[in-house]
Amino acid sequence: MAPKIKVLAFGAALLLAACGHAPVATGTNDPNEAVNRVWFQRNLALAGVVSRADSAPADPASEVPAAAPRRHPFRHALGNFGANLGLPGVILNDLLQLRPDHATENTVRLLLNTTVGLGGLFDPASRLGVHGRSSDFGETLHRWGAPEGAYVVLPAFGPSTGRDALGLVVDMALDPMRLVLPSAGDYNLSVAARLAGRFANAAEYSDLLDANVINTADPYAQARLLYLQTRRYHLGIQAEDEIIDPYADF
């Protein structure tokens, strides 16, 4: 473990030295589409087993008053718990990105939700308006100037890019929670809890997933578009040529 961290720290120092602006990513770069499509289908089947048992299809002819989707308390708590376990890693990345403001806000969140929120099962921080901001080593690499790389669908983790997949591996290696929580063989509890939290969160938004991905003509293509757009938005990438001016087209 120690030598691994040393290597990473060295790599980090090298990258920081070369700190530059990442090229602005646009469009879709998906050279491994065939393989990605296979993993996409498998992930959907997996997500279906975990979470979609209680979602009923909406009927447009329904005369029942439309209500906001209900929150599932257990699932919600699981999502909170997983997110809270991920916070130490997020804070570490905030620091690596030289963003003390984000690190401070996420630390306040971690302290509040771990104590008042009973170990992270509840999210009192958000009630107080401390929403925090998620981050990961993929974003750190972006800040250090790494290009996005190709689109890739990872087993269980879902849509990602070359840069973000590498970031995920580094996040797992650097995860401060590993020092706190026990690990059973190759499976560490922190990663398992966070993955469960991600599935729980996905289930909370299953109606949006149904409408915008599952029930579309090509769910794979829509998921890819949505992932790349939301990811680039999160990273603050704005590409002028992604702007659509329909009046200029004719």
Binding site: P60, E63, A68, R127, A211, A221, T230, P246, Y247, A248
Partner: protein, 201 residues
């Protein structure tokens, strides 16, 4: 020979037209305040619909009216269809526009349920290329606010919105992808695609 009054007026009119068409086609005609006011109105109407407690089918019908009143549906439909729009007949375009409006209202109207009880605020309106981008935030209790950006233009003769960017997701880009796939799956048969679009969303 003195130039007759009529002739002078015609000439002046022509000169005026020429000047007008030489003016840069910018967000100029529509002011920032007008762009903001349009979106203020749209968001007030959206909230009125979702908090009305009406049935889902009733809400979807009202969303369809809203798209018609404040959105440039013909231009959105044309842009979503892309290059095939150039070879489509006028009848096909009007059938497609009609089907597309219903599809949008069903697909997005249903998702607006998530915004029940949300507060919406216009933050800013800025010139983007040749139109206005109105930046708004939606806040749901206990959740982080997220950004919805409205693209607004008056180039169809009225102040109308033609695109939405919801938390970074470009709705028109997603619909171009969707309509493109639907057409491709039907070997480019526009009439069949229109027919199926009436059921989609």
């Amino acid at each position: 020979m003195p130039i007759s009054d009529t002739r002078r007026r015609v000439l002046a009119g022509l000169a005026g037209l020429a000047t007008l068409s030489l003016l840069p086609r910018q967000a100029g005609a529509m002011t920032q305040a007008q762009a903001r006011a349009l979106i203020d109105q749209v968001m007030a109407d959206v909230q009125g619909i979702i908090n009305s407690g009406a049935s889902e089918s009733r809400m979807i019908a009202r969303f369809e009216d809203l798209f018609d009143r404040y959105g440039d549906v013909p231009i959105i439909a044309r842009s979503a269809l892309g290059p095939p729009a150039r070879s489509a007949s006028a009848a096909q375009m009007s059938a497609f526009t009609e089907a597309f409006r219903g599809y949008l209202a069903r697909k997005y109207g249903r998702q607006f349920r998530r915004f029940i009880g949300a507060t919406a605020d216009v933050q800013d309106a800025r010139a983007l290329q040749s139109f206005w981008e109105v930046v708004t935030t939606m806040t749901l209790r206990g959740q982080a606010p997220f950004e919805v950006r409205w693209h607004v233009s008056d180039r169809s003769g009225r102040n109308l919105f033609f695109n939405l960017i919801i938390g970074g997701v470009n709705v028109l880009a997603a619909e171009r992808q969707e309509i493109g796939t639907m057409l491709e799956r039907r070997s480019g048969n526009l009439d069949r695609m229109i027919q199926d679009l009436r059921q989609a969303g």
